[in-house]
């Protein structure tokens, strides 16, 4: 599909229509889980994020688009911040590890698994790895462009 500026804007708004309400619900669930010490709610919060990610993938598929570099960068930053927050909380917050480490770690692992599942189903195992294979980009050879070697044109 043609990626005109107007088309890209329409897609951007649709993605916002997924993440703004979903993000609000996820924040509410996570907040309730942390405030009441209920692991189930924390997991439900991560579930809401995963559901938003699935909807985002569906939007991409419906509009024939891919994740934009900005979206990928933002998600990596947020994931890294969440990981760092988890580590700091475990180290500095007494009792956090006993109460929340398992649900938060499970939730983050679930998110990572969701992304890996998407990459594998979208690009195939070799193609998914190729998305991150920077070394090969640094040493381009003709043979690496062959389709059966996961080549990129």
């Amino acid at each position: 599909m043609t990626q005109t500026p107007s088309y890209a804007l329409d897609r951007h708004v649709l993605v916002s229509a997924v993440w703004l309400p979903g993000g609000f619900v996820a924040l509410g669930l996570l907040h309730h889980g942390f405030a009441t010490g209920a692991a189930g709610w924390v997991l439900a919060g991560f579930g809401a994020i995963l559901a938003c990610f699935a909807l985002h993938v569906i939007v991409n598929a419906a509009l024939g688009a891919h994740f934009t570099p900005q979206e990928v960068a933002l998600s990596f930053v947020l994931y890294a911040v969440a990981g760092l927050a988890l580590v700091l909380a475990v180290l500095l917050q007494p009792g956090f590890a006993e109460q929340f480490f398992l649900p938060v770690a499970l939730g983050m692992a679930g998110l990572a698994a969701g992304v890996i599942f998407y990459l594998v189903t979208r690009w195939g195992a070799r193609g998914a790895f190729a998305q991150f294979d920077i070394i090969r980009d640094n040493n381009p050879r003709k043979s690496s462009e062959l389709p059966h070697r996961g080549g990129r044109s």
């Binding site: 500026p5 107007s6 804007l9 329409d10 951007h12 708004v13 649709l14 916002s16 229509a17 997924v18 703004l20 309400p21 979903g22 609000f24 619900v25 924040l27 509410g28 907040h31 309730h32 405030a35």
Partner: protein, 620 residues
């Protein structure tokens, strides 16, 4: 909760302005400000249109009515299925007519199809009614919600002006496209918050909810029964119907009034400016009838049972359990009101600009200046709305009460344009005159006017528990049929036939064979009779005291609620059937041929009285 609420509101306001700036940056031409280029993305029209159809009924009002009148009021949720049916019936043909004739607004279409200046004036008046008092009433309600939620820290007036200013900023920067895109995001937020609030209230609030706890209705009102088919009441303000105002006929007539939202200028304009595709049917079937109907029919009582002293108290109670939940409920009502205000004011202003200002008051403007004219119009409109909402909330509420029933009076005119070629201009004008008069004198506006100036009338608002929309529409349709008998032919008919011949040649509606056609109409009428008409009275006891049994059934749920859910479940596939099988929900721009209805591209001269009046003011 105050800082939390204000931060969230500021975030969403900033996001709206950011989107509007992106839209403005990418606008292909200044004229796209007025109609979004006539090419709005289908998904955005689905979301924004469905949001308008549901939120336009007044979510806060619906919950308050359900808390006060019980299941007889929440029965009105089934009216959304009727609204979806009407959307499917009208919007495709209206979209096609706009594309075939090259006319950009619903007023232009109706006026040129019926060759009537009066219809243009009616449409402009209706646009102003929705853009000013209707919007002001909702903005005033939103201001009240903010005042209550912040414990008076933010006053009503401050809330009204700040919200109005940010809505204006979004509109004035991005125009119609930004309005619809932001509306789409708001509609998604409404859906998520609505479902979240219902689930949270039922699972987390404790103390038992509906149906274990009966609805806290006013004294003498039947909480889970419809109080008869009809009651011979003089009307609200004169006598109080026993058991509640929503009799079966009251429900049917109020459901008719709910059609006012989907027949409003904003909704019609939204449909006309959409891109071709299957979006029309999808939005009507699954979001308006499906999701919206379920939210009002199933979720309404669940929320209303906990309303207590009002929405603010309920939100506070929710916030004590989880701050995000309390905030979510407040945001739900505020977002719903803001969505309707933005779409009504912006569509009304843009329509008046295109229909009145640009062709008649300041003709011949360059595209850039046309956009400027619309932006000045938006500034004036939002200023007026904020003034009305702040200083005349009661007058706004009284005038707002006219908007939906008045819009319903357009139904014969729109059906004539879309399907019934023998409906003539005289028939429509006569019907409209009688319909509008009957609406006015069965609503608070007419009653206050006459009783204040002249004499006490023997009837009040909604006599015989029949909503003003139905009084008006009944008389309107009768007048249309009567006058059309004598005026259905002639040269005027030939003009109307041109459009219908085009429909018949290239865009026939496929209702199937004789059997399928009969089934579609008869099933729809049967559904309407039992879901919303007099047959709904059977729902009072149908499941709690089944026929052919000796004793009552221990259902654990009110029989009427089960009846409502059942007919919602039947209604959604019915709309789907009409939408998909009859292809009423699918639009395509393949093979469109241009038809000139007489003067869309003609040079337009201002009428003499406008030109003379303007010359006196400007000295030209």
């Amino acid at each position: 909760m105050t800082p939390f609420l204000l931060t969230t509101l500021a975030f969403f306001a900033a996001y709206g302005i950011y989107l509007a700036a992106l839209v403005a940056h990418q606008a292909p031409s200044p004229l796209a400000f007025l109609d979004g280029g006539g090419n709005l993305p289908g998904w955005a029209v689905i979301f924004a249109g469905s949001g308008l159809a549901v939120a336009g009924q007044g979510l806060g009002d619906h919950l308050a009515l359900t808390a006060r009148f019980g299941l007889q009021a929440s029965h009105l949720g089934l009216g959304l299925v009727l609204a979806a049916l009407t959307t499917v019936l009208i919007q495709k043909r209206l979209w096609l007519a706009a594309r075939i004739t090259g006319l950009a607004t619903p007023a232009d279409l109706l006026a040129r199809y019926y060759q009537s200046v009066a219809l243009r004036i009616v449409m402009l008046t209706l646009s102003a009614l929705f853009a000013l008092p209707f919007a002001a009433n909702l903005l005033s309600q939103a201001g009240g919600v903010v005042e209550q939620a912040t414990g008076g820290t933010i006053g009503h007036a401050a809330a009204v002006w700040v919200m109005g200013f940010f809505l204006f900023l979004t509109a004035v920067i991005g125009g119609w496209r930004a309005t619809v895109l932001v509306g789409a995001v708001q509609a998604a937020l409404i859906a998520a918050l609505g479902l979240g609030s219902i689930v949270f209230a039922q699972t987390m609030m404790g103390g038992g909810g509906f149906p274990q706890v009966p609805l806290p209705v006013a004294q003498g009102v039947l909480a889970d029964l419809i109080p008869g088919v009809v009651q011979y009441s003089a009307g609200l303000g004169k006598s109080q119907p026993a058991g509640g105002i929503f009799t079966a006929v009251g429900i049917a007539s109020t459901a008719l009034a709910m059609l006012g939202v989907v027949l409003s200028p904003a909704f019609l304009y939204l449909g006309i400016t959409a891109r071709a595709g299957r979006t029309l049917g999808f939005g009507a079937v699954w979001i308006i009838a499906g999701l919206g109907g379920a939210a009002l029919v199933i979720g309404g009582p669940i929320l209303a049972v906990r309303m207590g002293a009002g929405l603010g108290d309920f939100a506070s109670a929710m916030a004590q359990v989880e701050p995000f939940a309390g905030l979510g409920l407040i945001l739900l009502v505020l977002t719903a009101n803001q969505l309707v205000v933005a779409l009504s004011v912006n569509a009304g202003t843009l329509l008046i600009t295109q229909e009145l200002i640009l062709p008649y008051v300041v003709p011949g403007l360059q595209p850039l200046h046309q956009r400027l004219a619309a932006q000045i119009g938006l500034a004036l409109a939002y200023g007026l709305v904020a003034v009305l909402a702040t200083f005349a909330p009661l007058s706004s509420a009284i005038l707002a009460g006219l908007a939906l029933p008045m819009a319903v009076q357009l139904l014969p005119a729109l059906l004539g344009l879309c399907f019934i070629r023998w409906i003539s201009r005289s028939a429509i004008i006569t019907g409209l005159i009688f319909g509008v008069l009957f609406v006015a004198f069965t609503e608070a506006f007419g009653l206050i006017l006459v009783e204040g100036l002249f004499i006490d009338l023997p009837w009040g608002r909604w006599p015989l528990t029949v909503h003003s929309a139905a009084w008006g529409l009944g008389v309107n349709v009768a007048a249309v049929l009567l006058v059309a008998i004598f005026t259905h032919g002639g040269a005027e008919r030939l003009h109307r036939d041109r459009l219908h011949d085009e429909f018949a040649a290239l865009w026939p509606v496929d209702f199937g064979g004789k059997g399928a056609q009969g089934a579609k109409w008869s099933l729809t009428l049967i559904w309407a009779f039992f879901a919303l008409g007099p047959g709904a009275i059977l729902g009072n006891t149908f499941f709690s005291q089944p026929i052919f049994t000796q004793g009552p059934a221990a259902l654990g749920l009110p029989s009427l609620w089960v009846w409502q859910i059942l007919f919602w479940l039947i209604g959604v596939p019915l709309v789907w059937w009409l939408s998909n099988r009859a292809q009423l929900g699918v639009t395509t721009d393949q093979g469109l041929r241009r038809l000139d209805l007489g003067g869309a591209a003609d040079p337009v001269h201002p009428p003499d009285w406008i030109a003379v009046g303007l010359a006196r003011v400007t000295g030209r």
